[in-house]
Subunit: 243 residues, 2 copies
Amino acid sequence: MVTEREFLDGYDPRAYPALAVTVDVVTLTIRDGVLHVLLVERGEQPYAGRLALPGGFVREETLDQAALRELAEETGLLPRVHLEQLATFGDPGRDPRMRVVSVAYLAFAPRLPDPTVGGDAAAARWVPVDDATDLAFDHDAVLAAGLERARAKLEYSPLATAFVGEEFTIAQLRGVYTAVWGEEPHAGNFHRKVLSVPGFIEATGTTTERGGERGGPRSKLYRAGDARILHPALLRPTPEERR
Amino acid sequence: MVTEREFLDGYDPRAYPALAVTVDVVTLTIRDGVLHVLLVERGEQPYAGRLALPGGFVREETLDQAALRELAEETGLLPRVHLEQLATFGDPGRDPRMRVVSVAYLAFAPRLPDPTVGGDAAAARWVPVDDATDLAFDHDAVLAAGLERARAKLEYSPLATAFVGEEFTIAQLRGVYTAVWGEEPHAGNFHRKVLSVPGFIEATGTTTERGGERGGPRSKLYRAGDARILHPALLRPTPEERR
DNA sequence: AGAGTCCTTCTCAGATTGAGTTTATCTCCA
DNA sequence: TGGAGATAAACTCAATCTGAGAAGGACTCT
């Protein structure tokens, strides 16, 4: 906010050229073990033909509502989506047309159907994050910030459960960590750790109907617990070489 | 950012009433072992007489530059200040005059002199964070977010060194954790831990000139190392009751 | 039926942690 | 000047946690 003094001293409509505030959403999901991000293809200049994060102007609504609205318009999804503010990008010149300050959001969703082009949805599609390069505007940096946030939050928050369905196996949960971190945690230790963190997951008492596709026993099913933070945390292997 | 489609579909100057973007800065420092925040007293309505975070309009500059400029205008301080983006607050109605989207920043500074009222500085002063209540606008929430971020960052980043001078003792560093967490870490274990984290601090080879004010031997002096993250982390005592 | 998969549990040595103790150095005050 | 009290730094030790591996089944496919 701004103090009255600054408001009076500084305010001159001509001194502050038109300025827009938008939201952009980094929506992540996992498909076939690979982390994907939701992108839309731009039809017009600038950056025509390039991929970009879905987003749009903020209306008379909260920023959170704007992000949720954009996400819904683009994908038709609403339920079971974790949404959080990521960071704000506002360098002059990041949009060649005018000064645009963009509040970036980060969303996590379980596997979703391909966006239907019903409604006003542009050509939205899921793209493996490794292929999501050369995005329009400064969206490469926005995506990078989102990925780093996601990797870090898996360590100390029960976020991974937002990527899987209502009921899930520990192996599925491990698949989330593998996809996001790009590294597979030790299966046995992961199992022990996940079960020992209070409130992370709770057993349903049921198991899967079948074993794994390539064999193996049925697995027990779990649902998300009520913990908001993981304690102790599940730390990434090799955060960096020691010494 | 915004796609061209959305830009064309949605853009109508009258549909989007005037909107301002500001930065507000939560500046923290430690004085006499107590965490303080920099506040300015508002002279005019709304919220006349109330305390508020320093801030102002974003000009033709990056958001980071705007935050740094506001901080410098308010306090005259520039060197050795750690500054990072905190979060963006944009609820309609958070400013009664117009829609104002505020990008909040978080700054950490070693002990600084009282802001001189030279220049255009308003009545800025350091206030113990526990006394910083009933702030103008939604600044209570902004401050709360800043405090929580600071507490969390002490765990896994070498941020504490931003609160002390160029050279410091381990006891001073422990004082930072005590002030921010409101809880004193075990002195012996803190000592061991801080020295064992690679890159956190490095010895200068010198000691203080005198012992502590109430006795005790001279302490060794250290300076900040080059680590960007602490690994392993210094976890807060009692993050919550286990089980 | 056999080969291969993999969920789940177990083992174990090494590292880390929390709590407390020890030693020596220094300041303040009588 | 001689304590009394404070504290930086190092050490001790038991309890816990961690990483790495292996074992036991239960299940899939061919």
